[in-house]
Symmetry: C2
Subunit: 340 residues, 2 copies
């Protein structure tokens, strides 16, 4: 396996070190190429993601990314120029984000409701298309627009993927989340697409929630969800909320998948670079380690993936949530347990 | 005072009846005009909101609205044609939504954190502008767009209003919520506007959160918020979540304000028409009653407003959350207590 590693900024660098330690423990001999991208590179060269790097990445089997972003760089430069550019150029149309409350993990919700669902977030269009503009900037007559672009092609492939995932799960339940009563054009396309694809998956039960209502259910009745399919922006919002209720973004893994496998898929923790705690060995590498498990599953190393997830589950059940250990200590424990 | 009453659909009709009972108990003699708008009218005449009604509404001092929407009407028809048309035509640019956890009210959050903040949601532009379209509908080449339109004029007046509200509150804290790292055009306009208006309110402390992070804080640390200012769609999403953590949408009131007072402002519970429980006397009229309190405050009847809110607070502290009484029983209790 050829793996591209993009540690990025802040705690991204720290958690990736531990994630690789776990990877090496379960699948030795992975050929890794490190890419120095992020705030430091931008300050040094003004580059966020050179075309030559994109070309090299296309030759890899998968990408492991830490986190991107730093307060010294204007908002959006690294997010749009590096992270989103990777997702768009490599056609990562399925942004897969599981939310699972592991035994022993504290949730901010009273009564500890069961939580075990996965969000299939569209990753290459919607309000993330970068299709906006500004007119008369800085004047009292300024107009700023953001265009959400939704195509039948883009929506259908994600909806079909989500149906497939729902069918493969015991509950076989899929919820479309959108805002069809206000965003009538995009909402209608999403809604009609779900209705059309449904016929191919007659055993999957389908529901629809407006995005505002979905945030209510996520805190009052998260157990209702099995698979959620939604657009890029709603998916961004819902998956942070989902991570929060399932124990925090320190535990939330994600995969940016090109399910056609034309381009390498990219795995990353949902959390950001957290500059406030960077360099202190305080970051929890668990989300990055669970992202390695998703990566292993994606490249066909299912047994190794299961071992990593089992190691995480056992560690979460055993660790003291108030003193889980340093970044390196957690990484060492997980690597040892996963290898056993 | 001349009041327009639009009960609308489903439980809207039931809760408005009780809200008016409370209003009559504290301010007798209000001149009310009922407008028959909603699903029934649309089925009968095909009309959602005739121009003549809009003209009449402009002559009123305020509007009290129940809820709009019915499964028998295609999604978006009543929402865009009636509710949003009212908000847009009457220039309701400040959509004010308090979130307060009253003593005695259960929250889905563990540890019952204190919750007392208000969301100032922009109400007349953003992704709600209705500025989208569909090309090649129903074909594999369909494209559906939604354009978020943000103007300096529209953003500034809402930001200034939010600063004023923050300044009038003890904590004097304002949080802008947006997604500046992805929606770089609209986000930049919002961010720059907050920076510019800040100078007029030197005693107000300002923070910024991405919308995805805000959903995390709302469930892990809602006490950090005092006043939130945000765009139309983010405000829609955050205020449902805010309502959920503060005891449910059965308690969430809102005001759609034209703060220039050129047009009458409109007050409505945040909840919808809830067709599943309509006609059964099960709906909690508390959100509608709290909306009456906001209405009274807006028209200068501050003492009456305080009496209504105090009646609600006392009732919430005393009622059995599992058996709060029927719609009419709650209304009767609140009317009696508010009048005392
Ligand atoms: C950093 C940001 C661009 C990104 C996004 O909005 O997708 C992040 O929030 C995420 O969810 O991965
Ligand atoms: C019914 C719908 C159009 C409305 C909105 O999206 O604004 C509702 O959700 C609200 O928050 O008042």
């Amino acid at each position: 396996m050829k793996l591209a590693v993009i540690p990025g900024d802040g705690i991204g660098i720290e958690v990736i070190e531990q994630a690789l330690r776990v990877l090496d423990a379960v699948v030795p001999g992975v050929e890794k190429t490190h890419y120095d991208l992020g705030a430091a590179r931008w300050h040094r060269t003004g580059e966020t993601l050179p075309d030559s790097v994109i070309d090299e990445l296309r030759g890899q089997d998968a990408i492991l990314l830490g986190a991107v972003g730093d307060p010294s760089v204007p908002s959006g430069v690294l997010e749009r120029g590096l992270l989103l550019r990777l997702r768009f150029e490599l056609d990562h149309h399925v942004n897969l984000r599981p939310a699972k409350l592991y035994p022993g993990v504290a949730t901010p919700l009273a009564g500890e409701p069961p939580i075990d669902f996965v969000v299939v977030r569209e990753g290459t269009e919607g309000p993330y298309a970068g299709n906006g503009g500004t007119l008369r900037k800085g004047t009292p007559h300024e107009i700023a627009t953001e265009v959400s672009v939704n195509t039948a092609f883009g929506v259908e492939r994600v909806v079909r993927d989500a149906f497939g995932r729902a069918q493969a799960r015991p509950r076989k339940h899929l919820t479309l989340v959108h805002k069809t009563n206000v965003l009538t054009n995009a909402g209608d396309l999403w809604f009609r697409t779900v209705q059309a694809v449904k016929d191919e998956f007659p055993d999957v039960e389908v529901a629809y929630n407006h995005v505002d209502a979905a945030t209510i259910y996520l805190v009052t009745d998260p157990g209702r969800y099995d698979v959620i399919v939604t657009d890029n922006l709603f998916g961004d919002i819902l998956t942070d909320l989902a991570a929060a209720i399932a124990g925090g973004i320190g535990l939330a893994a994600s995969g940016n998948l090109d399910v056609s496998r034309t381009n390498p898929s990219m795995f990353e923790p949902v959390h950001g670079s957290a500059p406030d705690i960077a360099g202190q060995g305080k970051a929890d590498p668990t989300a990055a380690v669970l992202s390695v498990a998703m990566l292993l599953e994606h490249v066909g190393e299912s047994e190794a993936a299961r071992n990593v997830e089992a190691a995480v589950a056992a560690d979460l059940a055993a660790r003291d949530p108030k003193a889980p250990g340093s970044t390196a200590e957690i990484g060492e424990r997980l690597a040892k347990a996963a290898a056993e």
